[in-house]
Symmetry: C2
Subunit: 256 residues, 2 copies
């Protein structure tokens, strides 16, 4: 099993505090030793970081923790390999372009029948069930006679995610840098931080942050993760089978 | 005008020495202040780094210089914006998946008529002529009735590159992590390092490396750049209109 981390915010926000917590689960405090990845979006452009080394030991991850990059949307993943060898090509998030946007995807769990999924426009590069699932979803969107509106896109994605979920476990995150979709199979938690901002301490490391010093009163920042990352905030559990679409840190669609 | 850097090697090779030379041309010793990018391939997986800040000042570039990542193939670019604003979406290399491989592309120069190029499968995310040219090339390859063999691929790419070259200046590099294509419009130089290895000093910085200490006698490493990066080695100029396909550091196809 892997761990997921997502962020949707209404202002460019530094993800380092949360990433610091996730990172130590990659081989130090957790078994997720098989690589990690982080996509940071800024105005639809994406900075992607991938490594097949444990996030807790990787030089790149150490450097990332020091890098003051702010993002509108972030998608992170640390991997415990089950399907597919430890390798750069099997490291989430996976990225494909559709309709002039970079879509990235990460998955936690595993599911049956990924080899049998029909692929058309997009082809997996690696050998994970996750990337096969992602390509299959994007291929079905591409095959539509006309591009779906947002509501229809939500309904379709909900259906595709649930489809794969019936074959195993399929916690997933998908984003185009503006819209952020989170689907809960077994375990996803979220928290929305807004004024008045407080303090929080990481579960996994002896690190604290006072958000009131880092934000303006108008900021809205939502974090979504496999397990709560902080110990003194009230995280909300998503329901099994639930899809939420986030935009600018707010819920704009949800369905179970 | 921008600057390009490519590497094709028969063994995973550290690109940091060359990147150090290129980097200072990004705003310190050159006018290429408008972002930079570097794709490092390892077994068809790709680690991509993009930033819209000057390479000479960017925190990420400073960190990259310290990162001991070895690659089979590398593609780097520093940008001086002419078409398209300074932004992450306009930062080379651009990446698309085709037939289960990540293809990345970078361009130096500018050309007319990029807005009028017909796009089908792949759509530009940003607003550069370069990305439009890349998508147009990949769209034509995708539209073929059957996937081309390697010789046919070379002939076709040569034709597409020359086509865009007649509209302006089109020095370009394209790779799938195995095959490395370089096309010279006005300025590209290459050097192949093999045993017996010597020393080299960067043109742009007071840095030296003794390759004999970093290599084995079987290593073959080719560097290709807009201008020679070292001052005590004999770089070969590519001819205008010439395409070379490199594999494992060796020339496997060339045509003018």
């Amino acid at each position: 099993m892997c761990q997921l981390l997502g962020m949707s915010a209404n202002t460019p926000t530094d993800i380092r505090f949360s990433f610091s917590g996730l990172r130590v689960r990659g081989g130090e405090r957790g078994p997720h030793r098989d690589g990690y990845g982080l996509c940071l979006y800024r105005q639809r452009g994406v900075q992607a970081f991938h490594d097949f080394l444990p996030a807790s030991q990787s030089d790149l991850a150490v450097l990332l923790e020091r890098l003051p990059i702010k993002a509108d949307v972030a998608l992170g993943h640390i991997r415990q390999a089950n399907v597919g060898v430890v390798s750069l090509v099997n490291t989430h998030p996976f990225i494909r372009e559709w309709r002039g946007r970079y879509w990235s995807f990460a998955h936690n769990g595993q599911f049956r029948g990924s080899k049998g999924l029909p692929q058309t426009y997009y082809t997996p590069v690696g050998t994970t069930d996750s990337e096969a699932g992602f390509c299959w979803i994007m291929n079905q969107l591409r095959a539509l006679a006309r591009p779906p509106g947002e509501k229809r896109l939500c309904t379709l994605l909900h259906q595709f995610f649930q489809d794969l979920d019936t074959r195993g476990i399929f916690n997933a995150m998908l984003t185009d840098g503006d819209r952020f979709f989170t689907y809960c199979s077994k375990s996803l938690y979220w928290i929305t931080r807004r004024a008045p901002f407080g303090q929080a301490k990481l579960v996994d490391r002896d690190m604290m942050v006072d958000f009131s010093r880092e934000t303006t009163p108008r900021d809205v920042v939502t974090l979504i993760a496999t397990e709560p990352l902080t110990e003194d905030e009230a995280w909300t559990a998503m329901q099994p089978g639930e899809l939420i679409l986030w935009k600018n840190g707010e819920i704009v669609w949800r369905g179970v």
